[in-house]
Structures are given as C-alpha cells and as structure tokens.
C-alpha cells in the first residue's frame, strides 16, 4: 500500500517560542517502492519519519497508508531506529522475535512462529546467533536483529531512521546488502532516512532531498540512471564541498 504524507506541518516549543520543523510537507511512497530521504543532520528527517509511523501527531496535515489514516503506530508499518539498542536486552535474539510475533499474531502456533523466526534470522545472516542476548552482539548484528524482527512481522512498510549510520564501513556495507537483497525479493515498501548520499544512491529507487529553508521536500529524483550527474546534483543541494 502507498504511504502518503500530505501537507504535514510540525513545530516544537522552545524557550523563545516555537521552532517550525516541517512546513506543509508532501511525500508519497508508492507500493513496493524504496524511497530515501536525504538531508543534513538535525533538519527534521527523523520527525518526518516519526509522524509517518504514527509515533508523533502532526500539527496539521494527514498521513495515510492506502486509504487508512495513520493516527498511531501499528504493525503494518515497522520502524527501525537509529539506536543500536532497540532489541529488548532481557530476551535472546530468538525470544525478541518470538515476542514480537506473539504480540502481533497471537494465534500463530509455536512451531510455525519458531520456523518464521529461524527463517528471518537466516535471511539477515544471524542464524547462528539466535540464543545470544543483545549485549553479546555487535552493533551491526543488533541492527540486523532489529531488521529480522521487523521482517518477522511481515510489515507493509518499513520505516528506517538512519539505521546503519553508526556502523563501521564494512559492517554498514554488509547491512546495506542484506537490506537491498530483502527488498528486491518484493512486497516491501521502504521509507529510508539518511544523510549519506552514497547510501541513498546504493539503496533507493527514488531520492527525496529535504530542503532546510522551506522545511519540506525540495526535490525528488529517480535513481534509475535517467538523471545525469545525480550524485553531483545531490552534493550541490546538500552543500557538500
């Protein structure tokens, strides 16, 4: 289902009044599409994602998944946060996935749930780490564990808030490859927030650039090779020297 954000505005109170973060922002992610939103740190990308997922209400505007308005988070759109520590530390990796499945699909039998867990862990390269507690995993493994938990819930949309930004180069490439492989199997819509141009170009079908002065999406480019010098244009838009 398509994810639509229409005329979204959001401001936060500050000591000197309020700070406008988003101003009548529009964005549409088509069904099965992978869209990356590029922008500088602190420009409001994460707020945009939290509003898209129903974690924050907008001051005005609408968010819709297909024809259904999004007013609170639910399992159709799973969010992957930037923070490594989104797995529950008191559960093993397998228990984290099982817990999520039990909460969202309570009727699923134990055998079927275990099979699903194993399959999701295999897909994310964590088949051997099922019995590990999160503190026994590296940062990259934790993020892949969170991705495996998201996949176990068969979401329609995956919302990803710079999930690989704190990883070292090799681990990041590994995680990006895993995500790309999973998305290319079809059926998953992804809205991916990043400040890394290379990452956006590697993963996304379309790249949206957040425009800081207007506090909305300034440009959207197709990443199918039809836009000449796309990397340079993105660097120019983001003010990269």
């Amino acid at each position: 289902m398509a994810l639509k954000l229409e005329q979204i505005s959001k401001s936060f109170p500050t000591e000197s009044g309020s700070r406008q973060v988003l101003d009548r922002l529009d964005l549409c992610v088509e069904d099965g599409e992978f869209v990356a939103v590029l922008g500088q740190s602190g420009c409001g990308k994460s707020t945009l994602l939290r509003i898209a997922g129903g974690f924050e209400p907008p001051d005005s505007g609408n968010v819709g998944l297909g024809n259904t308005p999004v007013v609170s988070p639910d399992q159709k759109m799973i969010m992957l946060f930037q923070d490594f520590n989104q797995l529950f530390p008191w559960m093993t990796l397998q228990q984290n996935l099982l817990f999520a499945i039990r909460k969202t699909v309570p009727k699923m039998g134990t055998d079927q749930a275990l099979q699903l867990v194993r399959s999701c862990l295999e897909q994310t390269g964590l088949g051997d780490s099922a019995g590990c507690y999160p503190y026994q995993l590296s940062g990259g493994m934790k993020q892949r564990g969170a991705l495996a938990r998201a996949l176990a819930l068969s979401p329609e949309v995956l919302l990803m808030d710079e999930p690989f930004s704190s990883l070292d180069y090799l681990t990041r490439r590994n995680a990006q490859d895993t995500l790309k492989k999973l998305w290319s199997q079809g059926g998953l819509t992804v809205l991916f927030i990043t400040h890394d141009i290379g990452e956006a170009l590697l993963l996304a079908q379309r790249v949206a650039v957040f425009d800081l002065p207007s506090r909305r999406i300034g440009h959207i480019f197709s990443n199918d090779g039809t836009v000449p010098n796309l990397k340079s244009r993105l660097e120019e838009l983001l003010g990269v020297e």
Binding site: P73, Q75, I78, F88, K103, T104, Y133, Y135
Partner: protein, 266 residues
C-alpha cells in the same frame, strides 16, 4: 595463593572462608585474653547455646516468624511501591506529590516513628508490619520510579509499534527494562526492613505466640545469657547474609547480569 584465587571464583566459598577466619580470630582472642564469658563467650559456647535453642525449636520458630512477617511487609511495600510509581509516571501532579512525600518520609528512621505507630496500631503484628512497610517502601519506590523514568523511550516506541497497550507496555517492557534498579531497591528495602524489624521486636516484646528473633535476643540479655545473645545475633547475621548472597545474588546473576544489564562482577 592459587587456592585463594580459586576461592575467589566461588563467592559462597570465599564468604565461608572469611567467616571461618573471623571465628578463629574470635576463638583465639577469647582463649588468649581469658576474658569473662559473661562479656565475651567463646565460639564453642555460642555454638552450643545456638544448637540447644535450635533443637528446642525456639530459635527456628522465632526466626521463621521474623522471616514471615518481613516477607509480608515487603510484599505490601512492593505492591504499594508499584502503585505509587505507576501513578507518578502517569500523572505528573501525583508524581510531584509522591516525590515530596518520599523526600519527607525516606530519611525518617523506623525507630523514630515507633511511638506514633504504637499510638495508632497498638503493639501487635500490625505495628511491626507498619514499621517494615515504612522502612522498605521509600527506597523501593525511589528506585522503581528512577527505573521507570530511565527506561529507554525506544523500548516504549517498539512496544507501541507492536500495538501493545499501556498496561502491556508497563508490565512486559517497563518492568523488565527497569529490573536492575528495581532489584537494587528491593535489596536496600530488605536491609532497612530487616534492621527495623529486629529493633521493633526488641521494643515491642513478643508478637504472636513466641515473638521473633529480636525478642529472642532481648530475652537473652534480660537473663544475662551472653552466649545466647551472641547466638541470636549470629542468626540475624546468617539470615542477612543468606538473603543477600544466596537469594538476591542468585536473582541478580539469573537476570540483570545474564542480560548484560549491569556491570558483571569481576
């Protein structure tokens, strides 16, 4: 030295080793100085009186009574602590009020409120329970509230993403997420309640049919049975250490340490 390093790997064995050393120093000191047994009896004499009291059943009964009443008091304290901590989390105004009451009541020693408690509850089991609840509630409440407040918001977000309601998020996410602080609060609460219980039993006298361990110690002093007095104190120490090392230690190893949520003991 190697034997000692091996001992360090086994906490209980290490504890027993040092207890044995202290008992040897005690016994050696008594024998060498020839101090009067009315002031400082030998270890052998204390153990003989202890065995006698245990075999008669008095001490077992009285220690059991003390443990039962402290268990009851701590259960009430923990239940109240949960309710107040949840109210604090849910309603900021209630949180401010509860914080203020905590700040007033927390530093107040149980023994200081004893006269008031006698006035309000008399000198029965209810009064002892009130002292225990007062002693353990505030440290447990402070830690519970701190635990709930310091639980990473991302866990709540994940719970909301799994369509969990507030009750499920509290019981299945916030409580385990704040478990190390919760356990530490229960440990502080236990230590304060145990001390308050023994003091209160000594002041109130016999509660129930035979009274508790505090009453046992008080009786030994009345009859100038110093060895019996030491036997009572020994039981208080042993119970304290067993609860601290075996019960809480085991819970901590099976939970917070196993989950990597606390610094692993070196």
């Amino acid at each position: 030295m190697k034997v000692y390093y091996d001992l360090q790997k086994h906490r209980l064995a290490l504890r027993l080793f040092w207890v044995l050393v202290l008992l040897l120093i005690w016994e050696g000191g008594v024998r060498l100085t020839g101090v009067s047994p009315l002031l400082f009896p030998s270890v052998g004499e204390v153990l003989r009186v202890l065995a006698d009291s245990v075999l008669r059943g008095d001490l077992v009964w009285q220690a059991g009574f003390s443990l039962w009443i402290i268990f009851l008091g701590m259960a009430i304290g923990l239940g109240l602590g949960f309710v107040l901590a949840l109210l604090s989390m849910r309603f900021p105004v209630a949180g401010d009020l509860i914080d203020t009451i905590s700040a007033i009541a927390h530093p107040l020693p149980g023994i200081a409120v004893l006269p008031l408690i006698i006035l309000w509850f008399g000198t029965g089991t209810g009064a002892i329970l009130a002292i225990i609840v007062h002693s353990c509630l505030w440290p447990m409440l402070l830690n519970l509230t701190a635990g709930f407040r310091s639980a990473p918001p991302i866990y709540t977000d994940v719970g909301r993403n799994l369509s969990m309601n507030s009750f499920a998020i509290t019981t299945e996410i916030l409580i385990p997420a704040s478990f190390p602080l919760l356990l530490s609060g229960v440990k502080i609460g236990w230590a304060r309640a145990w001390r308050a219980l023994i003091s209160a039993e000594m002041v109130f006298g016999a509660i129930g049919s035979k009274g508790g361990i505090g009453w046992y110690i008080f009786k030994q002093r009345t009859f100038m049975n110093t060895a019996g007095l030491f036997a009572g104190i020994l039981v208080v120490i042993v119970i304290g250490m067993l609860v601290e090392d075996l019960l809480f230690g085991k819970i901590e190893r099976q939970t917070a340490e196993k989950w990597g949520m606390t610094q692993i003991r070196q």
